[in-house]
């Protein structure tokens, strides 16, 4: 672990844009340089959100950018996973000491992130997670990023605070629109009404970000395995691949035998 002081070289310059930059930043792993995009959203997310967070993060690292998120459940987890899927770089900003994994179930994910990026926090070692520390953590996510993508957010949620903070600092905010009835899309729909850029198609996310971040430098990543994202029903696999239900059931079993997915309550889940 390294401690970066504000007055010393190596401290990320982008943090100085904040009104109250952290005095010290604890870093485990390598803090990547270059443009970074925050991908954030609710801890309680739907499959819609989780799927798109993961695919977009994968596209973002595919363009050579870094994905920044908060290592929380839900959208944050999907965002980090998407970056790891694409062998890209990702940074997790914690609301507790960097020696504490919260939630504990995300410890394996955190350890994988260390191999492809960094885990950072402004808090001293041993600082326990607490609700009031998360908004402060969110400002660091904004500070480290050149654009913010909000995937899913209910009407009063931490992800919205992050988005408003970004807007105040003149950082571009992108939001994923959703069903009008869906609670976890009310916040993102509202953001769009308030001036965030809507992400109209998952395939366009890189093009849209290029307008803000400049041209991308695609990294040579793994070839895309089309079906390995998010839990899916067999009929969705069939629809996505344009094959019959029978073929899809057989394909899913082949993937399972190859150790790529597992069946959980009849749904197809990628093995992380």
């Amino acid at each position: 672990m390294r401690v970066l002081r504000r007055d010393q070289p190596g401290y990320p310059d982008s943090l100085n844009r904040l009104a109250d930059p952290p005095r010290r930043l604890h870093v485990v792993g390598d803090l990547p340089g270059g443009p970074a995009v925050a991908v954030v959203g609710s801890r309680r997310c739907t499959r819609y959100g989780a799927t798109h967070a993961r695919t977009m993060s994968r596209a973002i690292v595919g363009a050579g950018w870094t994905v920044v998120s908060g290592l929380a459940r839900g959208i944050d987890t999907a965002a980090h996973l998407g970056a790891l899927d694409g062998d890209g770089r990702t940074v997790a900003v914690l609301g507790c000491g960097v020696d504490i994994w919260y939630p504990a179930s995300n410890r394996p994910l955190g350890e994988r992130i260390l191999g492809q990026g960094a885990v950072v926090s402004e808090y001293e070692l041993g600082t326990e997670p607490a609700p009031w520390r998360f908004p402060a953590r969110n400002r660091i996510i904004v500070g480290l990023s050149d654009a913010v993508v909000v995937v899913e957010a209910a009407e009063r949620s931490g992800a919205l605070i992050t988005a408003r903070l970004a807007m105040e600092h003149g950082i571009d905010v992108f939001a994923v629109p959703g069903d009008l009835e869906r609670e976890t899309s009310r916040g993102t729909n509202r953001l769009i009404a308030d001036g965030a850029h809507p992400i109209v198609s998952p395939r366009e996310v890189v093009e849209m970000l290029e307008r803000v971040l400049g041209p991308s430098a695609p990294a040579a990543g793994r070839s895309a395995e089309p079906m390995l994202r998010g839990p899916m029903f067999v009929h969705e696999v069939a629809a996505a691949m344009g094959i019959t239900i029978g073929e899809a059931s057989r394909r899913v079993s082949e993937w399972e035998l190859a150790g790529l997915v597992r069946l959980d309550s009849g749904m197809v889940e990628p093995v992380n």
Partner: protein, 473 residues
């Protein structure tokens, strides 16, 4: 003077012959019934006395009348013995020709001499068949009596009518021509979408596999379950008789016309599900559904001791209930369909609503479900809420049923061969830990059924792969 006439009692699914003996002697005036009668049987004396008076028969005055229901150690219950008691007394008093007693009779008497519909009709029909004697039943019970082939059924309206019918061979009824009646219940065509669940239900129907449907509220789990009977072949005569025998032992009515569909609530007691009660044990839901479908909605809400109790009956295809009164055995041949939410809140994996369950909650929920009962399910299906209610016409039950029947016929005469590739994939999956030992057996069974639906003797890799995708966790 003595007379004896035959009646019957339903003991479990068995039809037991009961001799209704009457003996008249002079002495102190009395009318007693012996042979372990319950209150309803004992009260027959009042009904028989009044029925005599209102049918134009003179009830013997000043005679000592004893009625014995033999075997004397078998407990008798209900008013269905009224008619045989009355006929036996009439014959003992020589008020009617002795030939009147050469029948099997069952029915309840009204005070005015009319004969009322009663229980024990099926049991009496089976006894009549065994003895080759005519059967007197209350009018309205014909359908039940005709479930037994080759019985001389004579329906009667009153006590006097019963005496006529007993002596008149012309009263024999002809059974209606029960052709294949069209399915009248809900049809699979009403279910929109859900192609994976439809296929799973077809495989389940073809192979007699138990199925568990996993999905959020509103996915159409119970709608689908209610349509499984429509995918099964029409009942055979034996199946109809078996189901009717179970229902005859139950106080529940009416007996379903075709294959039964029973959906006990999760608050039902173990006795309601498995059978029991004081005295003669009654069949539970698991037996009442025999030949049809037992639907366990909200599987996770059933108390675990009740689910554990279901395990053995489903394995043995019968349930044995021992009570003080008797030990009886009922069939448990129902096809089980269970439904459950994927997680406590129900919305895990949903497109629209967020799941609010924590990982630990989901694990606890799974642990409860994946107990020994879930092991009995060969097939599981994950269902999402339908995308939209529009779309083209869906395939109806009749088409699927035709394929199910073809597969069942094929299965009855085929060999059991396996492609080497199919066997080796299964063996490897077991060795790699992708399948558990039990999972391996389930996939084997379901793969065999998938091959039967394809009308092929040899189970191929494709059949195994499809079966794997359907296995229950």
């Amino acid at each position: 003077m003595f007379s004896s006439i035959t009646s019957a009692a339903q003991i479990g699914v068995e039809a037991r012959q009961v001799h209704v003996e009457a003996h008249v002697e002079s002495g102190r005036a009395a009318f007693g019934i012996v042979g372990l009668p319950d209150t309803a049987v004992r009260e027959a004396t009042h009904r028989v006395r009044s029925a005599f008076a209102n049918s134009g028969y003179r009830f013997p005055r000043g005679s000592h009348l004893t009625v014995n229901l033999a075997p004397a150690a078998l407990p008798k219950s209900g008013p269905a013995f009224d008619l045989p008691i009355a006929l036996s007394v009439l014959a003992a008093e020589r008020l009617v020709p002795p030939a009147t007693a050469h029948v099997v009779a069952v029915g309840e008497l009204a005070l005015d001499g009319k004969v009322r519909l009663s229980r024990n009709i099926l049991a009496a029909a089976r006894v009549a068949r065994r003895l080759g004697r005519p059967l007197l039943i209350p009018r309205g019970g014909e359908e039940e009596a005709f479930l037994v082939d080759g019985v001389d059924v004579r329906a009667v309206d009153s006590l006097a009518d019963a005496v006529d019918a007993a002596l008149d061979v012309g009263r024999r009824l002809t059974p209606p021509d029960t052709g294949e009646e069209p399915w009248s219940g809900p049809d699979l065509a009403d279910v929109k979408g859900q192609p994976v669940a439809r296929r799973a239900l077809e495989v389940a129907a073809a192979g007699g596999h138990h199925v568990v449907l996993i999905g959020p509220p509103g996915a159409g789990k119970s709608m689908l379950a209610k349509r499984l009977p429509s995918l099964l072949p029409p009942m055979t005569a034996e199946e109809r008789l078996e189901t009717a025998s179970v229902w005859a032992a139950s106080s529940r009515a009416p007996r379903p016309d075709g294959r039964p569909f029973r959906a006990p609530h999760h608050s039902a007691s173990a006795a309601a599900l498995l059978g029991g009660g004081s005295g003669l044990p009654e069949p539970g839901e698991v037996s009442l559904a025999s030949g049809g479908v037992l639907f366990l909605d909200e599987l996770g809400e059933f108390p675990s001791h009740v689910l554990d109790g279901l395990r053995q009956p489903l394995e043995d295809k019968q349930v044995t209930i021992a009570r003080r009164g008797a030990t009886v055995r009922y069939p448990a041949t129902a096809h089980v369909v269970a439904a459950t939410n994927p997680c406590p809140c129900g919305y895990r994996g949903d497109r629209v609503k967020a799941c609010v369950c924590g990982d630990a909650e989901i694990r606890t929920y799974r642990r409860k479900l994946s107990g020994p009962l879930l092991d009995r399910f060969d097939i599981s299906v994950a269902m999402g809420r339908p995308d939209s209610f529009e779309g083209g016409a869906e395939e109806g039950s009749a088409e699927v049923r035709a394929r199910v029947m073809a597969a069942r016929e094929f299965a009855a005469q085929r060999g059991d061969e396996w492609d080497r590739e199919a066997s080796s994939v299964l063996a490897r999956a077991l060795a790699d830990g992708v399948l558990t030992g039990r999972g391996h057996d389930k996939v084997r069974r379901v793969a065999r059924t998938v091959a039967d639906l394809a009308a092929t003797d040899r189970v191929a890799l494709d059949h195994v792969l499809e079966a794997m995708s359907m296995r229950a966790a």
